[in-house]
């Protein structure tokens, strides 16, 4: 297991440095004067320009600039936002819980519907239920989720008036964020109706963001389950006279879960990409919307920092998934 971990890290660490290089180069490839881009000031005097040039270190050789960038990074300094003048890391970690909350709810929806749907579809292969699930999954997989979000808004907010259109909680409620998770904070605040307001704001974005993972999980569960159901040990279990509940629940499901867990882990990147669109549609104050806003406001230090931090988070989660997978399935540990 230790060698497995070391081998994974051996790939991960150079990749991480590659990622820092991409983030570092990004700001230097932008057309225009990097000082003006970083400072975001107009009508700058010659002296101010030279002073800033020195402050940002653009007067030094590129490799020195990169080293000092890595040095700052090691101390958690990713520069300051042009617009708010706050440190990028602070902005990121203030907004991050909103994205985590949304993503977690999305993945919970996806797993709780996708898993049973895929399982039942596999056990009743060829039935109407199977065909419906598979058609639904393929549609969900092909869904432009930004459009799906708009449709849900039209129906649930516009026609039925059930859910609010944007934000995380109604303006009627205010409390200091403790955990950053609106559902938990609203419960802890003890204000009546705060929790249900937070929940009603969350439900549509979570459904939208969960759609593609749901489709992928349902498809994967079905095919993994079908494969396992054809195995000899399942036939043996049936021949022993075990009931279908035991055969499927105990013998088949556990083995079918291995590929499914990997697929769930792989959805992290998909969730981030989806969060960019979902948060934009629902004005959800998370990382995805922040990135889009930063790009359109030309707040390049924020774009640069966000790019790096998001990639770092995705890489970390993938590493954890890999390790868990190695823990469950020894075969993986010992193959290239």
């Amino acid at each position: 297991m230790i060698t497995f971990l070391l081998r994974k890290l051996g790939v991960l660490i150079p990749t991480f440095f590659g990622v820092t290089l991409v983030a570092f180069i990004f700001i230097r490839l932008l057309p225009g004067d990097p000082v003006l881009l970083m400072a975001g000031e107009r009508g700058m005097s010659e002296e101010r320009h030279t002073a800033l040039m020195k402050e940002y270190g653009f007067d030094r050789p590129v490799w020195e600039q990169y080293l000092s960038y890595i040095g700052d990074l090691a101390q958690g300094d990713l520069g300051k936002s042009i617009i708010t003048k706050k440190p990028v890391t602070k902005e990121f970690f203030t907004l991050f819980p909103a994205t985590i909350e949304l993503s977690l709810c999305a993945i919970i929806i996806a797993v709780f519907i996708g898993l049973p749907a895929g399982m039942i579809a596999a056990t009743r292969r060829g039935s109407v239920f199977d065909h419906t699930v598979m058609a639904g999954a393929l549609t969900g997989y092909s869904m432009p989720i930004f459009w799906w979000g708009l449709l849900l808004i039209i129906f649930f907010s516009g026609i039925l008036g059930w859910t609010p259109v944007s934000g995380r909680i109604s303006l009627l409620y205010y409390f200091e964020p403790v955990t950053g998770f609106m559902l938990i904070d609203s419960l802890m605040s003890g204000q009546e109706g705060a929790f249900s307001s937070a929940l009603s704001h969350l439900i549509l974005p979570a459904i939208v963001l969960g759609t593609i993972p749901l489709a992928v999980i349902a498809r994967q569960t079905r095919s993994a389950m079908l494969e396992v159901l054809g195995e000899d040990y399942v036939r043996t279990a049936k021949a022993k006279g075990l009931g279908p509940g035991r055969v499927i629940g105990l013998h088949a499901l556990r083995n079918a879960m291995i590929p499914v867990i990997t697929v769930i882990g792989l959805q992290v990147g998909v969730l981030f990409a989806g969060a960019i669109l979902t948060e934009t549609i629902f004005s959800w104050p998370g990382i995805g919307k922040w990135m889009v806003d930063s790009i359109s406001r030309r707040d390049y230090p924020s774009v640069q920092g966000g790019l790096l931090l998001i990639a770092a988070v995705v890489m970390m989660v993938n590493l954890v998934v890999d390790l868990l997978y190695g823990l469950i399935n020894p075969q993986i540990r010992h193959t290239e």
Binding site: V11, V19, L21, F26, T139, S142, F146, W147, I153, I310
Partner: protein, 286 residues
């Protein structure tokens, strides 16, 4: 010819794939004959008909079958012309990423060693970013336009081709026919592109079909965020972005472009599933 027949036999077993193929052919025909099929030009504004509903609703007319948008353009005509953009995007993105990916993957798998490590590490870096995020940032770098969006999506997609090609090439390299070719003195380039490559194509074709649909989706997403095709281009994602502020007043300007994206992507994915069944030797019953 016999190969083609065998392919069709497997492909047509999957009914969904045939439906997908039929639908895809229809979209291609619509794109090709857009000039004859569209009742209006894509950018003509009819001042007397702002946000006119589809014909079956009160206030609609058959002159604008699917209604008009906020500046009085015919939605149906814009959708018909939009199919050209989507297919164009799919073709360009897939060709760029396919050719670049095959070349890099072939080099990595054929030469192994340092070349392999260098190429694969770079691909790992690209894959470390969520695809849409990287595409967004690349477009921010290059400037928002349809061309730049396509380049960005192609860059984001090509690591998948590199990995597939490399894996297939490494699998083929140990086979006897490659050794035989080496022994009779086949030159390196010929060995790479003529001897080995054709035997690695099956997974690549499947991937190409599936990433055709991803390309359309991603380009529409970039258009929707204002970073892809710019208005007044009748690209479906861009149309959705323009229609966003009218969602609670005029459902048709939002519904139809998205439906067009969904149906096109769905058709391609259905077709891709059929292609996989027909081409993937692992699933083929012997």
């Amino acid at each position: 010819m016999a190969l083609l027949q065998e392919f069709w036999a497997y492909f047509s077993e999957n009914r969904g794939a045939v439906v997908g193929l039929f639908f895809f052919v229809c979209i291609v025909l619509i794109a090709v004959f857009a000039d004859f099929l569209a009742p209006h030009a894509s950018n003509v504004q009819y001042r007397e008909a702002f946000l006119q509903p589809p014909f079956w609703q009160d206030g609609g007319s058959l002159r604008f079958p699917l209604g008009t948008d906020a500046v009085g353009r015919d939605v149906l005509s814009r959708l018909i012309y939009g199919s050209r953009y989507s297919l164009f995007i799919g073709c360009i993105v897939v060709s760029i990423s396919l050719f670049a990916g095959i070349f890099l993957g072939l080099c990595a798998g054929f030469f192994r060693g340092r070349v392999d490590t260098a190429i694969m590490r770079i691909m790992d870096v690209v894959l470390a970013f969520p695809s849409l995020l990287l595409a967004l940032v690349l477009v921010a770098l290059l400037g928002p336009s349809l061309m730049n969006a396509m380049i960005a999506i192609a860059i984001v997609q090509q690591p998948h081709y590199v990995r597939l090609t490399r894996a297939a090439v490494i699998g083929e390299m140990t086979k006897d026919y490659v050794t035989a070719a080496r022994v009779i003195g086949v030159k390196q380039l010929r060995l790479m592109f003529v001897t080995i490559l054709p035997n690695c194509m099956a997974p690549l074709i499947v991937q190409a079909a599936l990433s055709f649909s991803t390309a359309i989706l991603d380009a529409a997403a970039l258009g929707f965020l204002g970073l892809g095709a710019q208005p007044p281009t009748p690209e479906w994602g861009t149309m959705l972005a323009e229609a966003r502020e009218f969602i609670l007043r005029a459902w048709w300007v939002v519904t139809f472009p998205g439906l067009a994206i969904l149906l096109t992507v769905l058709a391609i994915n259905l077709m891709g599933d059929g292609l996989r069944d027909a081409l993937d030797p692992k699933l083929k019953r012997s």
